[in-house]
Symmetry: C2
Subunit: 453 residues, 2 copies
């Protein structure tokens, strides 16, 4: 066999032509949207005023294992994919571990994360449907940036409702989004009814993700030819993110790599769901005996401390219910530097897999996560995003265990992105002013109070 | 022939094993260091107290066409190289041009620029020589970041003297440098004699690159086992940057691409010198009839409006003289958003090629450069560094000419890096608060007054 390069790049011709629909492989399917009134099924048609038609179809598709990637999406994918699968040889050396560590690196595009994998098809389908504008919200900013890039590429007007305090704390994120031509509105704003109401009630508020979602939904519903798009949690987003796992799987086949442990950070769960997709299918089908680990911040522990329940997707309780692991839609996570992981719930697909015992979950304090991030940056070169560093932390811990036991396990993790626009976290770490936020049981009980079990 | 992929990645096994020493190909050699006293040759030994021995040898080597890249450097190169050669198909479409545009993209590593190509060997050789620490200066921050990364990789303590005003305006750059473990000193500082002197004379000063160089040199000279390293201008830096051109040349051969025009932005000239290296050798040897264009900011026009003269490398006039195109070492360029191009002189190699008529030079106002940057970002996806965008501007202009004449020229340019840590420029552009700075003839005369012709 040929020697494995440090960075494995598939050929452009090997870029997958279909996404992998993990729902179709699962024995216990994730439940689809339920009505808050009586837990009855919400028919797909009911969602087409809010979401693009094709995305709703993908959301509800429980049977087709593979779904074609349109040529117009593959064309855009080629500007930043295939992404590299990298052997963390220098990290291994630093840890003096017999483990082999590989990471799939999704941060080579300007948005700096995997979010572009779903932004591309979402904007493409909107364009195909003849829609004339889109709205979304962004907190940490990765999704807003990715969607602005995709909208610039396909020529689609976009309004991004950015949590006000984020837009002030992250002027660079705001600048990138505007550079790609999107209109950025600091939320809450005077442009929507809900925004005006919140501002009347809390004149000085810095906003929240829940509020930004509500404003983006209201704007989409009130504007002709406009739809709302979302960057995580939902089934169709996990579907698009399967491109990560499919490329990784192909690279592993090509170079005879057999992961014993697959690790991903988990906020809404789309990156993790995408990375594990084809590997998990093998596990379900008895062809692979690997461990799968979801890693979340201890400040927002939806899998490790949440409840398996029916819950709203947003703080404003305007969406249908989803069955998932959740801290409750009224749970407000403490501020942390991993804004992309501050979501109360977890993708129904990932939740179902976890519920069925097909996955494990771990949570880490952010200072421990940053210890790992620094070690990774200095040995491997790339400065990781705070979110991605949760996966690094878990991978390092597994590699250290291998050192203790002498096992030569193969560890695969997803490096979802880079921290270039989010350096305030590193500044806090370097200044030793970073602290950990762990919710008390009482904090959690408050969030659980409104759940439907 | 196989179809050309959008992004051409060479195999890891195709990573060059030698750098290309363009000096050895030139009929008129660049002049080596001269004494400010009497223009006599400065012997290499005289520089070994300041620079690493191996680098001085490379600086003076006028005869060997190829110089081996040590295995320990290739190992690090593999973490971020080969870099992609990308067809700008979407920019071409946007411009509706018959021209084929390719760009070699050096921004895929965390430092965000080509600077890492020279940082790697400079630190490696220092380690081999048994040195125990390094100093450098940084203005815009790209070089400081790259060197901090290389020092983290090889385990070498580093002190970076960062122009004070830059360290304040670019907290993210400062944070990245510190994250990789380097010590950052805002210059002028109390840590050196020259720093204390400047602070006494100008208590409120924000510093300058000239001052930071002087502090870094003083610190290196006074510390046992310490040397000073520089990220541009010098011959050995151009040598290391030839890796850009060698990879590009190999990719062009592999896919039968024949550039008619080769374009690079030029500050100190190392990226440009590196990109053109093997192509220029073909031109010198009569095997290639391409145009070569150096692109500089109109605020700091060393080739287009400078003088061919002997001049100091630093504002403090502490270095030997170099024969080059220069605006005079006392010329202080107006503030601009392309900090990496704010240098009074130009690499002796590039200067000599320009003087011999082997290259052209163009200069552009920064607002025109940013028009091009935005067009590029929105069509190609990647957000370019302000510096790199000078090359984009020139490439777009050549592509527009092709549209007018109907010529299907092949245009190759160097995209040296990304603008992720330098978004203040884009903020100014988006706010329409960006202006142009063009020195008057009187401004230039003042700088020329101390030159030796």
């Amino acid at each position: 066999m040929t020697e494995i390069p440090l960075k494995i790049f598939l050929e452009e011709s090997e870029l997958p032509r279909q996404w992998h629909n993990l729902k179709a492989e699962m024995k216990n399917k994730p439940e689809l949207f339920k009505s808050p009134k009586d837990l009855s099924d919400v028919p797909p048609e009911a969602l087409e005023g809010l979401f693009c038609k094709e995305l709703v179809e993908q959301e509800y598709n429980l049977t087709d294992k593979y779904i074609d990637i349109p040529d117009g999406v593959r064309e855009f994918y080629k500007t930043f994919r295939p992404s590299p699968l990298i052997r963390a040889r220098f990290l291994e050396k630093e840890l003096d571990t017999p483990a082999k560590i590989y990471y799939k690196f999704e941060g080579t595009n300007t948005s700096g994360s995997h979010k572009l994998n779903s932004a591309a098809p979402q904007v493409y389908y909107a364009k195909q449907q003849g829609l004339t504008s889109l709205t979304t919200e962004t907190g940490a900013g990765q999704w807003g940036t990715a969607l602005a890039m995709a909208c610039a590429f396909y020529g689609m007007p976009l309004t991004v409702y950015m949590v006000k305090v984020s837009s002030e704390q992250k002027p660079y994120r705001k600048a990138v989004i505007e550079t790609y031509g999107a209109k950025l509105v600091a939320s809450p704003s005077e442009t929507t009814e809900i925004g005006r109401k919140i501002l009347r009630e809390n004149p000085g508020t810095g906003g929240s993700l829940g509020c930004a979602i509500s404003e983006a939904i209201e704007a989409a519903m009130k504007t002709e030819g406009c739809r709302y798009v979302l960057g995580s949690v939902l089934n169709h987003v996990v579907l698009h993110q399967s491109i990560i796992g499919l490329e990784t799987y192909k690279a592993c086949e090509k170079y005879d790599i057999h992961p014993d442990i697959v690790i991903g950070c988990a906020g809404g769960g789309s990156n993790l769901g995408g990375l594990i997709s084809p590997f998990m299918a093998d596990k379900i089908n008895g062809k692979l005996n690997a461990r799968f680990i979801a890693v979340e911040p201890s400040s927002c522990p939806s899998l490790t401390r949440g409840k398996w329940a029916y819950d709203f997707g947003d703080t404003g309780k305007t969406t249908p219910l989803m069955r998932m692991y959740t801290l409750g839609s009224s749970f407000i996570p403490s501020p942390s530097h991993s804004g992309g992981l501050r979501y109360h719930g977890m993708s129904p697909i990932v939740s179902q897999l976890y519920h069925d015992g097909l996955m494990e979950a771990q949570s880490y304090d952010q200072t421990k996560v940053f210890d790992a991030a620094i070690l990774f940056a200095r040995s491997e070169g790339t400065l990781p995003a705070p979110e991605s560093s949760h996966a690094i932390r878990a991978a390092i811990n597994e590699a250290i265990k291998c050192k203790e036991t002498g096992e030569e396990k193969t560890i695969l993790f997803g490096l979802t992105g880079t921290g270039y626009f989010d350096m305030s976290a590193y500044i806090a770490y370097n200044n030793q002013s970073m602290s950990d936020y762990i919710p008390t049981d009482a904090d959690l009980q408050a969030g659980f109070s409104s759940l439907v079990f």
